[in-house]
Amino acid sequence: MASLFKVRIPETLIPLAPPVSLPPPCSCGFPCFLQDPSKLSAYRDRRFPGTQEEYEAALQASTTVYIGNMSFYTTEEQAYELFSRAGEIKKIIMGLDKNSKTPCGFCFVLYYSREDAEDAVKYISGTMLDDRPIRVDFDWGFEEGRQWGRGRSGGQVRDEYRTDYDPGRGGYGKMVQKELEAQRELVDYGGSFQPNAPPPYERGERKRGYGDRNDRGDYQRKRNRNDDRAAAEGSRRAPDSDPADKNPRFREKGDSDEEDDDYDKRRRR
């Protein structure tokens, strides 16, 4: 029965999902028999300031859901369109890379009602958003600080050690990228000297997932999205900068614009 579904679940999530088996029945009434209790407790947030019981109670009552395995390019508006189909949305909080302040592949959606949050978990988890299977879990509630990635490099922990190439999440994992960069630097020093060439892998660029210059088909797609940004604020772009460096749906909060940072701080206070 496990093979019934060919939904691609990212490998880092597999240990969290329980094996497919019918849970023992619960005695809580008519239609909830056979329901998967793992929905509530598949993941334990280690930063939760309380006991396991308190954690579960918070999950039981929460109207917040956590969305994982998102593309770095997915916008709040895309999430809004999808998640509003489970109910009226109160707030969306994008998870951001600590260093670059850019989306790093997760977000919180706050609903007004518990039932809507339940429906989001039941009906949206495992379906596609922006061509990726996303996961949706109950969350114990958003607090200031939880929007930042907890990985050493600023993003999510799962993106630190990942070894696959995932163009929607910045290419290779951070550790692999570092490795690749080190190798390339060796090559570069040995190669011919090009005085005016831009540094091949600048920080920002790599963070945005273009460390790999292979055109994997997906590259073209990002380029398209860059064009609309180019049209919107063409004058701000240096003509020789890598077009991939500027992604419209990506820079929203990464803008060095002071005003934005200020907004975020105030809002979350």
Partner: protein
């Protein structure tokens, strides 16, 4: 075999590892029974509970559980008698609690038990007769209350619905009694009122009645009659008891204690309004489970006996009900029902009929989206093509589809495609770009593309239709802000640009909202006027908040007051919405979100939104775009969400107050008791308790009292909010209907002098097929009809043209939305119907308006059900 008895019970009848992959039902039952009898000593009570739970929640396996219980009956008669008695008690409870699913399933379970000689056939007959006589009483004008016909229908429906399971056995054991029940049902059907569900039909015709000539009762009755005439042979119900007949006959059948039905709710008055309200209440309590949707031509769908179709539908609906939220199990059971024939087409029709069920499906539409996705994955060779066929068939008839269903179909289809890489043979529909812009097929394609872009992004969707590049003109503009005061050198000289720049500077400089308001009032309004100030302020703030949804709400939370100050009345709020709409003219989604949030922050009232949606610029769009309707739907639903949230809060506060009161009373009592314990010290009575304890008790009592008072206060506050919200919603309803009546009255073609109601669909060839045939026949003579000339040569004129005029389509569409709103909010409307009758539906209302509004309410007017 290591599987536990619970797993064996759950998995019985499934081809699964627990049963070694075998599909032999007899073997399953033997294995499972063997395990149960071994475990019986240790786990009698657990088995008892679990068996009942399984029977109720895996109802498609009832025949297997029936045999298991029949076998247990041979050894453990008391145990089984307990099961029978408990089931009877549960049925009795369910009847009084009006729990429809439970009543239906327990009757089926009892039938299953009867097949395995656990329950006496006569007991089943008695139960049927009780239900039947209760149903007949309800319909009686004198002793009952015909407004509650939905309950009466439901009882009889349950009897009929259990017959595919119990009928064959009853026919064999007690044929005369069964015949008597059937005769009773026949006479019930002759006295009940036919249910014309025109307002709930997915497709409408212009003749004013629903395309299904038989209602759900008549339909099921016919299926059962055919079954009885063909000797009660039901292919779709497994009959495992036949393999165990030799053993089972030895069992002692148990008698069922008689059940009773709740007495009919007697009518309080004979007023038409109260009757209508009661009937509405009854319809809500006893909703129709399925409105069968015929999507596929009969030669394509599976050919099966009428009763088999019913049984498979029941099983599908039960799986959808009980496995809601368990994706894997749900898909597994849907594709592996214990029947020996294929049913993919039937399954698709059943799921689509749930997705499109009016007024509401049992679950959110997104659930059915998920089920369809999962079925496409579970049956990759069969189901996707069935879905494609269904979409094409529904698309063909989209011009006759109910407005609400169209919206659901658009949302479903765009979401479905987003889960399958947006792959769709668009070129087959590329002809729609030549249709007039109000043609429903064209609007459908346009709205699907709009929703696809919202779920994805412009370039991706543009690429997905590259095989049908003609359709590019149906794509919405690329989303992006449209800022009036863009800062560039040439135009920066206007006042607006300067002031806008200044405002941005103040915000960057972290000026307080109060300072900015002062600045607006001193520097802008006196010289340029309030409207100009609103223009600059709203455009500039929208621009600052344009980067994302979060930016928008941040700006509105921080600087919304400036806008509120400028928009103290509806007129200014209407202008504000014009500003939003202009700024976001390239993004329907952001327009809708912005207006929705502004209503959330109470910067715009719901009344203002209704007025704005019915303002001329939006009214012109009614038939060509979902844009104004989305905003209207949001506003009305937000109004009612507020009410239902308040009701919930009040409910929980009331509970809290009850608890607080009890705690308080207990604390005071304890304190009093402690105080009253006295002892004589030096001839004087003094408190015997230690002063420390008394102080502590005093603190507790004070705290509890305080808690009680604060809860009471917040309850009062919420109550006040609720009554305000209720007043608001009443005003919104009134305005909404008034505006519908106004715009429709202006545009509807008048009723002719001899009282004939205009037919808006005269041009629609899909509906007036006879008319079209006539027209084609007279083509030679009457060839000045341009449309026919153009499309006739390829013989596809029905496909490539749409002949309903723009004004007629506008009317059809607006009437459709009127019907959809009145159906969606029927409960609220019924509670204000007297006000609406007095203030909105007065005078010479066009009969088509009355029909649309009232059919949504299922309200019969004096002119009869046709109107």
């Amino acid at each position: 075999m290591s599987a536990g008895w619970r797993t064996l019970l759950l998995r019985i009848g499934d081809r699964c590892p627990e049963y070694g992959g075998s599909a032999d039902h007899k073997e399953h039952i033997e294995t499972c029974y063997g395990m149960l009898s071994r475990e019986y000593e240790h786990s009698r009570d657990a088995i008892f509970e679990f068996l009942l739970e399984c029977a109720e929640q895996l109802p498609h396996k009832i025949p297997f559980f029936g045999v298991l219980i029949g076998l247990l009956n041979l050894e453990n008669e008391d145990f089984v008698k307990d099961i029978v008695d408990t089931t009877q008690a549960k049925l009795q409870d369910a009847l009084y609690n009006e729990n429809c699913d439970r009543i239906r399933i327990l009757l089926r379970f009892l039938s299953g038990l009867m097949c395995s000689k656990v329950v006496a056939p006569n007991s089943i007959i008695e139960t049927f007769e009780t239900l039947l006589s209760s149903a007949a009483t309800i319909l009686d004008e004198e002793t009952g209350n015909p407004s509650w016909q939905p309950r009466a229908d439901f009882y009889v429906y349950c009897i009929l619905a259990s017959l595919p399971w119990g009928g064959p056995e009853l026919f064999e054991q007690v044929p005369d009694e069964l015949e008597r029940v059937l005769v009773g049902i026949q006479s019930y059907l002759s006295i009940r009122r036919h249910f014309d569900d025109i307002a709930f039909s997915v497709f409408e015709t212009d003749e004013g009645h629903s395309p299904n000539k038989k209602d759900f009762m008549e339909d099921l009755w016919e299926r059962i009659q055919i079954l009885s005439r063909s000797g009660w042979k039901v292919k779709s119900v497994p009959k495992p008891h036949l393999s165990f007949e030799a053993q089972l006959v030895a069992g002692n059948s148990h008698r069922l204690s008689p059940i009773s039905c709740p007495p009919p709710n007697l009518p309080q008055t004979s007023s038409e309004i109260l009757k209508g309200q009661e009937k509405h209440e009854a319809d809500l309590k006893y909703p129709q489970r399925l409105r069968r949707l015929h999507i596929f031509p009969t030669n394509k769908a599976e050919n099966m006996q009428p009763v088999d179709r019913f049984v498979v539908e029941e099983c599908i609906l039960d799986v959808l009900l009980f496995f809601n939220g368990c994706r894997k199990e749900c898909a597994f059971y849907l594709v592996s029902l214990p029947v020996s024939f294929r049913y993919e087409y039937l399954m698709a029709e059943t799921i689509f009929s749930q997705l499109l069920l009016l007024p509401n499906p049992p679950f959110r539409p997104i659930y059915y989206t998920l089920v369809i996705i999962d079925l496409c994955k579970a049956l990759p060779g069969a189901f996707p093509s069935v879905v494609v066929g269904a979409v094409h068939a529904l698309f063909e008839r989209i011009s006759n589809m109910d407005t609400e269903c169209r919206t659901r179909l658009i949302l479903w289809f765009s979401h479905h495609l987003s889960n399958f890489q947006f792959i769709w043979p668009w070129q087959e529909w590329s002809y729609v770009k030549d249709l007039p812009k109000w043609a429903p097929q064209r609007v459908f394609v346009q709205e699907v593309l709009e929703r696809e872009i919202r779920l994805s992004y412009f370039e991706k969707i543009k690429q997905s239709i590259e095989d049908a590049a003609e359709l590019e003109e149906l794509l919405p503009p690329k989303a992006g802000p449209n800022f009036k005061f863009v800062g560039n050198e040439s135009s920066e000289t206007t006042d607006g640009h300067k002031l806008s720049k200044e405002l941005v500077g103040m915000i960057r400089g972290k000026k307080t909202v109060r300072d900015i308001i002062l600045w607006v009032e001193e520097h802008m309004i006196p010289t340029n006027g309030a409207e100009f100030a609103l223009d600059v302020v709203s455009q500039t703030l929208l621009d600052i908040g344009s980067k994302s949804f979060t930016h928008l709400i941040t700006v509105l939370e921080r600087y919304g007051q400036i806008i509120s100050k400028l928009c103290p009345n509806e007129e200014m709020q209407l202008l504000l919405m014009d500003e939003v709409s202009a700024y976001w003219k390239n993004s329907t989604q952001m327009t809708a979100i912005s207006i929705d949030r502004m209503m959330g922050y109470r910067m715009i009232s719901n009344l203002a939104i209704v007025k704005w949606v019915f303002s001329p610029a939006n009214v012109e769009q009614f038939h060509v775009s979902d844009r104004p309707w989305e905003i209207l739907r949001n506003a009305v639903s937000k109004t009612y969400n507020r009410i239902s949230d308040l009701r919930k809060e009040i409910q929980s506060l009331k509970k809290g107050l009850q608890v607080a009161k009890e705690v308080c009373a207990k604390a005071i009592k304890e304190l009093e008791e402690a105080k009253s314990v006295l002892e004589i010290v030096e001839g004087q009575p003094t408190p015997a308790e230690r002063p420390g304890r008394l102080r502590r008790l005093q603190v507790y009592a004070d705290k509890a009292k305080h808690e009680e008072v604060t809860t009471e206060e917040s309850l009062e506050a919420k109550g006040a909010l609720l009554s305000r919200a209720l007043e608001e919603s009443k005003a919104v309803l009134k305005l909404l209907f008034k505006r519908f009546v106004d715009v429709l009255t202006e545009r509807l073609p008048p009723v002719s002098a001899d009282g004939e109601i205009p037919n808006l669909r005269t041009g629609d060839q899909n509906v007036n097929s006879e008319a079209r045939d006539l027209e084609t026949a007279t083509m030679e003579i009457d060839s000045e009809n341009g449309a026919d000339k153009n499309s006739e040569p390829n013989g596809q004129n029905t496909k490539n043209s749409y002949n309903v005029g723009e004004l007629e389509q506008w009317c059809l569409c607006t009437l459709g939305y009127l019907k959809s709103f009145s159906r969606q909010y029927a409960t609220e409307i019924w509670s204000h119907i007297a006000m609406l009758d007095d203030e909105v539906f007065v005078g010479d209302i066009h009969p088509l308006i009355r029909k649309a509004a009232f059919s949504g309410l299922c309200r019969f007017t004096n002119e009869g059900p046709q109107l």
